[in-house]
Symmetry: C2
Subunit: 176 residues, 2 copies
């Protein structure tokens, strides 16, 4: 390989290759640092409650799809049921999450947040929200759309329905 500083001496193909590598590394790095920084604030808040990031993930998805059965949550988190059971046990002990027997299928356990759980989830969401809102605001709508497009492209097509299902509107609920 030629000197990295002598791009003008590289054949066109190699130059394009080099630029592509730089752009890919940039994406990898920004994704890593962006994700790390996004969750940093939530981690601090979680620590004050004696909880960790794993608890947050469960809390987050249960908030997002109340009534979700265990199996669906396992599919989203992509961990073993043994790992999840420890996390859910902690959350139930603390009165943040409750289970109900499934209506359609009585083997299922439908998960939902208690009011205390919903409160904590909201606080944690706000930790993430502040950073994301700032980033969206400075970047503008076009950039945000591109951000979504690239990230969606990183998800294998067969897994996309799972993620997109999270964005469907929830069935009507009454909170008043």
């Amino acid at each position: 390989m030629a000197d990295v500083n002598s791009l003008h001496r590289l054949p066109v193909g190699a130059s394009a290759q080099f630029l592509r590598e730089a752009e890919i590394r940039r994406g990898i790095e920004l994704l890593y640092f962006g994700y790390s920084n996004m969750v940093k604030g939530a981690d601090v808040h979680l620590a004050t409650q004696g909880l960790g990031r794993a608890h947050h993930r469960a809390l987050y998805f249960i908030a997002r799809r109340p009534g979700m059965p265990i199996g669906d949550l396992l599919a989203l988190l992509n961990i073993t049921k043994q790992s999840l059971s420890r996390v859910l046990g902690d959350l139930q002990e603390r009165g943040l999450v409750v289970q109900a027997v499934g209506t359609r299928d009585r083997r299922q356990r439908m998960l939902s947040l208690t009011p205390a759980g919903a409160t904590l989830e909201t606080e944690l969401f706000e930790c993430l929200r502040d950073g994301v809102t700032r980033a969206y605001g400075h970047a503008g709508q076009t950039a945000v759309t591109g951000f979504w497009t690239v990230l969606t492209g990183l998800i294998p097509p067969e897994d996309r329905p799972l993620v997109e299902a999270l964005q469907q509107p929830l069935p009507a609920r009454r909170t008043a």
Copy 2:
């Protein structure tokens, strides 16, 4: 709060609020799933070598900034020196990384990859690259730029120089 299904009945402010929350949750979720999927392939390859994600991160940054001292790597990884020392120990045992006494400051330990380390890092990079290349390709250049912009916005301004320094061209090296 009104029924989520009846947006037309919401006051304008509440509607905008709701849309903003949906967009933020979408970003959070895509960032989580996008990152998870990006590193999935590399994790498999690492496992065949008896290494983990932590080893990959060290390897990655050393490849990116050869000659980087320990302290700089610590700042990038944001972990304790005790954690890093376990990881670096593994990598040195396996002959993937070497240290050299600093030239300007003899207290520093400059890290670099051995040829075997560089080979492994290249293989791991290719695992990530395939997914990122596909995502970039389907999304297009405008989307990629937006992707970078939003992610950069997630990084606190005071930390950005650290990340941007990674993207500076390397000092000339001879590999021929």
